[in-house]
Symmetry: C2
Subunit: 321 residues, 2 copies
């Protein structure tokens, strides 16, 4: 099969990659569409030390599924963490925090930038019929946005700032707006902010408008400087949600967290069902974030496009898909 591989040096489109051999509890899925995420770009820069087939955002069709034959033919999206099922996090249903976990296309497991992928049945979620592939492929990052609402009570009267206007920030803003809160997205790219204005969200190109006034700030810039900028925007006793992983360990003024009694919440993968419900009901429409769809064979060009500062979502379509 065809697959887009990071070999430790660069990206390679391989035409004769061995197809996955699903285990007894896994389904074989034909990938229809896959999305390039900031984490994929980071991996190519060395993050997580991953080698192999990249990619973890996808929608596809189940080809084989011995464990649950009724799934064959269904369109599915898939959660990306596979746990040991024995440890305390797994037993709490939080396999994304299993110390032994593999993560699709990120850690110890092939990704979805390929014709085929094998995934445990328990990771798959059927996609409602009227949600197009182009929307369903956003389920995984949209779930990561919903994770914030699993962790933090965002009140309808709260003043909330999303810091950043990139791929994840766009989805986070759309999700937080559902709460009814007073939301401002602070970013640097006029074209990206315009996508938010177009759906009625308040945006700002600088953060000077409300220093120290936000109840909740969600840091989605991916830049180490975003941490201090987020603290500047937050009121005393406010909540800072960290969505970005940073290369290295930035200087952080931890005393400021203590003196202002800030609550900081690290936030990563999230629940798929709320994301699918929001897509199915049309409460979230991610289609305007798609800037291009490349065939998988043009994966290198797709990554180059996704790496541009102006880029939002770039999708990959396997030819066999």
């Amino acid at each position: 099969m065809q697959a887009l591989i990071f070999d430790g040096h660069g990206l390679v489109v391989q035409d004769d990659a061995p197809p996955p051999q699903p285990t007894a509890d896994e389904a074989l899925v034909k990938v229809a569409l896959a999305g390039i995420c900031g984490t994929d770009l980071e991996i190519v820069r060395g993050y997580a030390g991953f080698r192999g087939i990249l990619g973890h955002e996808f929608v596809g069709q189940v080809l084989e599924c011995a464990a649950q034959p009724g799934l064959v033919g269904r369109r599915v999206v898939g959660e990306i963490n596979i746990g040991c099922s024995q440890c305390p996090p797994c037993q709490r249903g939080r396999r994304e925090h299993c110390a032994q976990r593999s993560v699709v296309g990120i850690r110890g497991r092939p990704g979805v930038f390929a014709d085929l992928v094998a995934l445990p049945v328990g990771n798959l979620h059927p996609v409602p019929a009227h949600v197009p592939d182009e929307a369903a492929v956003f389920t995984e990052p949209l779930a990561a946005a919903f994770e914030i609402l699993e962790q933090v009570l965002v009140r309808p009267t709260d003043r909330v700032v999303v810091l950043g206007d990139g791929r994840l920030a766009q989805l986070v803003a759309r999700v937080l707006a559902l709460t009814g809160c007073r939301l401002t997205v602070v970013g640097r790219h006029a074209a990206k902010l315009a996508l938010l204005s177009a759906i009625g969200l308040e945006t700002a190109q600088t953060d000077a408008s409300m220093p120290g006034a936000a109840d909740v700030v969600v840091e989605c810039t991916g830049q180490p400087a975003g941490f201090a900028a987020a603290l500047d925007l937050l009121r005393p006793e406010g909540t800072l949600v960290l969505k970005s992983t940073y290369a290295g360990a930035p200087q952080a003024d931890l005393s400021r967290l203590v003196v202002n009694e800030i609550r900081l919440v690290g936030s990563r993968c999230g629940p798929f069902q709320p994301a699918l419900r929001a897509l199915a009901a049309g409460r979230i429409d991610p289609l305007s974030l798609i800037q291009a769809i490349y065939p998988l064979s043009d994966g290198r060009a797709a990554f180059a496009h996704a790496s541009q500062r102006s880029a939002l979502k770039i999708l990959l379509r396997p030819e066999a898909g």
Copy 2:
């Protein structure tokens, strides 16, 4: 009056310091006993840029109080933040987060290492008759320990680690133990840990016993390295309470907070009434933490003693008190 002053270079006992002139809403308090806190030691090392009469932990007797004459003669302790009463934090009753605040002996306001101090009536709390001065003087730091329970739900089934065995850690451990949680105090000083063992608390001299297992870790070491050590002890999705302020901005692995979805809570000043109730009921007995009581005139020797690594609480007693 006599007062212990930090003049920007060193400590000076001044015998002819001008006595405070209480405003209409302030009481004049004769200081009976005052405690030296880690923050006082930091100020002498340059923290907060404070100059003037040091000290913020005290118990005393009201001498004059035009605004509330019934307070005259009462023994009182006092909250240390004085706000503008206009801003959003002040209107929420959180004057400790007023941007314009003064703080007794720390920021823009004389402290309590003196014969007399003036404080707003609203900051004072009468001390129950059977709580001795030697216990009441712990009210302010004990309130800071109770602040953790204002911010974080510590469940009776939680595994909790207090990191540090110093002044504040000792009080934090005693307060958290009240919740019924599985508590371990991890410290470096056998004599300090022995004080905790003596009241039935579990202690450990290293933190190797439970890597990655704690639901809640309270960082009270005052050392920048404490941040990483606390993260090592915490389970995924655990809560890290920061009680220490650090000089400078240590390197902090913020990506680890995101990947493990850690909740970090900065924690500072706390509520006086729960602290007084715990002292009055004998649920907290801080007397074993007192290592020496110096006359105020020996303030420099008292600070030298408090600066020793083995030191716990050192008290100062004004001669006029």
